[in-house]
Symmetry: C2
Subunit: 305 residues, 2 copies
């Protein structure tokens, strides 16, 4: 880092267009932590660069103030409109990616989202977590391994998803059974897990607030691509927060929170007969035809403690 | 502007660290106005650049969400915490400067602030606007002219300031008389105006909210340099929103909202005797000694309609 200081870099007593960043950042006290200094200097630098680039009118500046205020006023204990804003601007996904750079071959992560509930019921493999009986049946099956393909017995596969109407149980407490489409499965001795569910649906993020209005003004729709959420964990491994996305979802390439990663798109195969099932190595699962099947393996990396 | 497009510039269906800006901005609809496109592209570009520079942890990202939420929740009909945030980061002043680039010699502008009230009482020149009798007496006297020094008779000088305790009347509705330290004066045939008041005091911006906490964490104090607010206007001229700052204020070089401009610092002279007054060309103003005197001229530019 260049440690030379000039009049402008040191800032001035009086702010002008040329010295503005250094003048604001120069006010920080000597006792401020280096991390806080770095973060806030960056915030000021980019805010000022943005202001100089777009040269907002007073009215536009006031609109920005009003928008942020409306976003704040929309936030409650159960609604986080600033996270939605971060989501639709791609910032949440970027933070996710930056914090989880994994070796090639490891399962990539994506956003946690607001609908996770800890302590979902633990089920034996093969259990159906679709408690409302809606939608197209689905079998999810696969293995949890390390980077070399060694099974990780006992790895926990914590899963949650929407029902066939595109809602999570917590969004429809009076309609869906408790813990509908949630469950925790443990990998067997060979790393394998499997469970029954329903095919997930795409759904809109809550768009009745200022972030929904912004999406409208940007000519964007509020839909997330259909997906199933997973947190896969095992002692000694870095837990991975991720989704899988059915490859036939029309919103795959335009997920409104930018959560889709190419490596997380999965083939949902339609199984129409016992012949289809045999071809996929499924055996007799006592599931009525037709149903969907996805084979999905998770690859964990050692934890870095 | 370079109109070539590359894969990255066009964005991708799937966001990654390299393509993130183009991917988010590429989602904007074709019907979005060019101005909206420019503004939001800039917002996304700088937000992502900032995120990549500081690489926030999940905890830091959550802190940012929580901070913005707290700022939003502090906003009410009578308190605008997002404007305070814009103020202490120098953004408000920058917007002010960008929107009022004036020819050399013209009175420079500064922030309006939250305490202006329209329709203050109109007084004849020489009236005392200090209705609570507190503080050190002050005489303000000067001329309103154009860039060539020609007087602008009838120009309106709309003035407001704190009392000697550092509060505006609207902040102490039960303590100060209505319209204390506010008034509108009209320039005479020769462009001159004058009025009596009290010497303004430095004061803290409201610092009992999240912005005050941020100032604390930045090692900064919440004080504005002492000042008197003016809006000076006349038909055919661009109205100027400005302050003057007494040159003896200890916070002159560290105004917490960066509102001070070098050209707006004014000499507040102490007048101790009729001899002093005569030396300053003040004649007999029937004011008890000692009092303060400031001579201040406003130079307006033609309106650009």
């Amino acid at each position: 880092m260049d440690t030379r200081t000039t009049a402008v870099e040191k800032g001035s007593r009086f702010l002008n267009e040329e010295n503005s960043v250094a003048t604001v950042n120069g006010r920080m006290g000597a006792e401020v932590s280096p991390r806080m200094k770095l973060v806030m200097s960056g915030v000021v630098k980019h805010l000022h660069a943005l202001t100089k680039e777009i040269e907002p009118t007073h009215e536009e500046w006031q609109q920005a103030i009003d928008f942020l205020t409306a976003v704040g006023h929309k936030c409650t204990d159960w609604r986080q409109e600033f996270i939605l804003l971060s989501d639709i601007l791609g910032v949440s996904m970027l933070v996710e990616i930056i914090n989880s750079r994994r070796p090639s071959g490891a399962t990539e992560n994506t956003v946690l989202g607001p609908f996770y509930l800890p302590e979902a019921p633990r089920y034996r493999n093969g259990t159906n977590i679709c408690l409302d009986g809606k939608g197209e049946p689905l079998i999810v099956k696969g293995k949890v391994t390390d980077l070399d393909g060694n099974p990780i017995p006992g790895a926990l596969v914590d899963v949650w998803q929407t029902n066939n109407d595109g809602f999570y149980d917590v969004q429809q407490k009076d309609v869906q059974p408790d813990w509908n489409l949630r469950g925790v499965f443990a990998a067997e001795w060979d790393g394998s897990y499997w469970y029954r569910s329903t095919k997930p649906r795409f759904y809109p993020i809550p768009d009745d607030g200022p972030v929904g209005q912004l999406l409208g003004r940007l000519g964007r729709h509020p839909n997330r691509a259909a997906h199933i959420h997973f947190i896969v964990s095992a002692p000694g491994y870095d837990p991975v927060i991720t989704h899988i996305f059915p490859d036939d979802c029309p919103y795959l390439g335009e997920d409104t929170v930018f959560g889709v990663r190419e490596t997380l798109i999965s083939k949902f195969q339609e199984v129409r007969s016992s012949q289809d099932a045999k071809g996929l190595g499924l055996g007799d699962l006592e599931e009525r035809f037709p149903y969907f099947f996805v084979n999905w393996n998770f690859v964990l990396t050692p934890s870095v403690t």
